[in-house]
């Protein structure tokens, strides 16, 4: 299965990667090979196999609703490139949250 340059450009955008024209050329070839390798799986008839939701044969792992200690604000912020002592600082984001 071959990916188009456009497919790769879209995946790049979704991953927030700034891909140059050369990057796109190279990655279109490399990604096509990878997808081709994986698509060998399509040769196997899986019509009688239930979809796998999880590789582990374990279910129902829960914790109780009991509070545990949180980090201090200083600890939480310490690895952030920029903060004001109480919040993480990021470049201005205007408009609605992407949350749905």
């Amino acid at each position: 299965m071959a990916l188009s340059r456009q497919d790769v450009a879209k995946v790049g955008l979704l991953a927030r990667l700034a891909l140059s024209s050369d990057d796109l050329d190279r990655m279109t070839g490399e990604l096509s090979k990878i997808v081709g390798l994986v698509s060998q799986l399509e040769e196997i008839d899986t019509s009688a196999v239930a979809p796998l939701a999880h590789p582990l044969d374990t279910q129902n792992v829960f914790r109780d609703d009991v509070p545990a200690p949180s980090l201090t604000t200083a600890e939480a912020l310490q690895s952030s490139p920029r903060h004001d002592g109480s919040c993480f600082l990021v470049p201005a984001v205007l408009g609605d949250s992407g949350a749905a």
Binding site: K10, L13, L14, R16, A53, H54, P55, L56, T58, Q59, N60, V61, F62, R63, D64, D65, V66, P67, A68, P69, S70, L71, T72, T73, A76, L77, S79, R82, D84, S86, C87, F88, L89, V90, P91, A92, V93, L94, G95, D96, S97, G98, A99, A100
Partner: protein
């Protein structure tokens, strides 16, 4: 009930809602951080909800149980097998770069919730497509007025458990949409699923709306329906805003239709934000890739199975939903459906207060009257919750008991209620200090005799068959002694006159 296009409104408004409610847990969905509202920024965060490398989520049992309770209350089918998926998108309030949500195997689907119109008839039976369990994102704050270049991120909310409830487009007016939301809120609050506090972000609503317009001259009543493009409205921060936004949006789409005749086609859904101050919806920038969330199964969480026994247990722990409670209350206490509706709509705590009072008084209707005319009215004036209301059921029952015994009449009882409320003193103290001692029968007889002697005209009238003339004596008696029970006094006067 059908909503037909009319001359004034030659279209049908088609509305579907998407509601996110925060589940009432102590901790987040996948970690032990507190969910308490209002804490200082980034004080309720840990490696898991910060999305730090190497951290792993573990599902909160109580959150799952509450979600199942909500779904059962909405008549949904609970899936025997459910799993979680990653919904991938980049936004600074989502540190992991994905939200753990549910895609193709939500834990519940196919439910319904009715809404009743103000006259008590069925307004709409709204089908629910699905209810699923997911985590919330954090909060981003940008002070545009201050013109600062940075957006500040607080991740206290990140990982808070949410139920997403999606309806079919079954609602047909802004009014019934608001009423339906009220019913949903009441239901979830009753079952202890969520406090549904919109100010604190515990409940958020998005609405999908478009118009169906019957085209005249294209087959008349059986003709084709034109369907306007679907718009999703966001940023509505109260149920009133939801109603206003829908009214505005329906009118806007009608105008746009008349101008452009644009119909729903292959164009993607448009998103518009509600501006409450301006009272308009505004187009939001469309993110071209926004629908491409590249869901895939969450490898860090194992699936959950739910047995019939689990469902039976959840049902047993659920308690009565408002619809059942309204009927039960009306039957048990023999009160009108209207009374039961008013009481139930105020919430579980008020119903408990009423039942406590009714049990003490032994008469549902009397207790209900006092609830509506005194307790609820003053509660609404004062604000606050019934739990904080200073006059407790035993005090109200005490006042009602004294009225029933004939110590004083209802209006005097009301004055005592107001004084108990204002002073916080026990009923007996207030009765004594207001000089409201029960008038003894002897005192009442002598007062009666005194007034009869002073009013020969009234006596003559009553003897002549005009019993209503005795009313003139009651006013005079109350002037001499405000504690006189008018009914009792009137009867005594009539008896004495007859014996003359």
């Amino acid at each position: 009930m059908t909503t037909q296009p009319t001359a004034a409104e030659p279209f049908t408004t088609i509305i579907g809602l998407e509601v996110h409610v925060q589940l009432q847990t102590k901790t987040k969905l996948f970690c032990g951080c507190s969910t308490t509202f209002g804490a200082a920024p980034n004080t309720q965060v840990c490696p898991t909800c910060l999305g730090l490398p190497g951290s792993l989520p573990v599902m909160n049992r109580h959150a799952f149980d509450l979600a199942v309770r909500a779904a059962l209350a909405l008549d949904c089918t609970i899936a025997p097998f459910t799993k979680w998926d990653r919904k991938n998108y980049f936004y600074p309030d989502l540190p992991k770069g994905y939200q753990i949500s549910q895609y193709d195997l939500p834990f519940s689907s196919d439910g319904r919730l009715e809404v009743i119109d103000p006259k008590g008839a069925l307004w709409r039976d709204v089908r629910i497509i699905r209810v699923h369990l997911e985590e919330d994102a954090g909060k981003s704050m940008h002070d545009e007025a201050a013109g600062t270049a940075d957006t500040r991120i607080d991740l206290n909310r990140a990982g808070t458990p949410l139920c997403e409830i999606v309806t079919q487009p079954d609602l047909r007016s802004p009014q019934e949409s608001r009423a339906w939301l009220n019913e949903l809120k009441l239901l979830l609050a009753y079952l202890g699923v969520s406090d549904c506090n919109m100010q604190e972000g515990s409940l958020r609503v998005d609405a999908n709306v478009n118009l169906h317009i019957p085209l005249a001259g294209e087959g008349g009543a059986d003709g084709r329906l034109a369907k306007t493009p679907i718009v999703e409205i966001k940023n509505m921060n109260s149920f009133r805003s939801v109603e206003r936004a829908l009214v505005y949006e329906a009118a806007r789409q009608w105008e746009e239709w008349q101008a452009t005749k644009a119909e729903m086609g292959n164009t993607p859904k448009q998103t518009r934000g509600w501006d409450d101050a301006a009272g308009v919806t505004r187009a939001q920038r469309h993110k071209e890739e926004s629908s491409d969330y590249r869901y895939f199964p969450e490898p860090d969480l194992v699936p959950v199975t739910v047995s019939e026994a689990d469902i039976a247990k959840a049902r047993a722990a659920m308690g009565d939903p408002p619809t059942v409670l309204r009927k039960a209350l009306a039957e048990k206490w023999r009160i009108p459906a209207y009374d039961a509706d008013v009481l139930v709509n105020q919430g579980r705590d008020l119903v408990d207060y009423f039942e406590d009072l009714a049990t003490r008084v032994g008469e549902g209707k009397v207790a209900s009257n006092w609830m509506q005319q005194d307790v609820l009215r003053t509660l609404n004036e004062r604000g606050g919750t019934i739990g904080e209301f200073p006059v407790r059921p035993e005090a109200v029952a005490d006042i009602i008991g004294r009225v029933t015994k004939g110590d004083f009449d209802t209006s005097r009882g009301r004055e005592i209620f107001a004084e108990v409320l204002a002073s916080g003193r026990p009923v007996a103290d207030v009765v004594a200090s207001m000089g409201i001692a029960a008038v003894s029968d002897d005192d009442l007889v002598s007062l009666c005799k005194e007034l009869l002697a002073a009013n020969p005209k009234i006596v003559a009238d009553v003897q002549g068959g005009k019993e209503q003339a005795a009313a003139g004596l009651i006013g005079q008696a109350r002037k001499k002694n405000p504690n006189v029970n008018p009914g009792k006094f009137r009867q005594m006067c009539l008896d004495l006159i007859r014996g003359m």
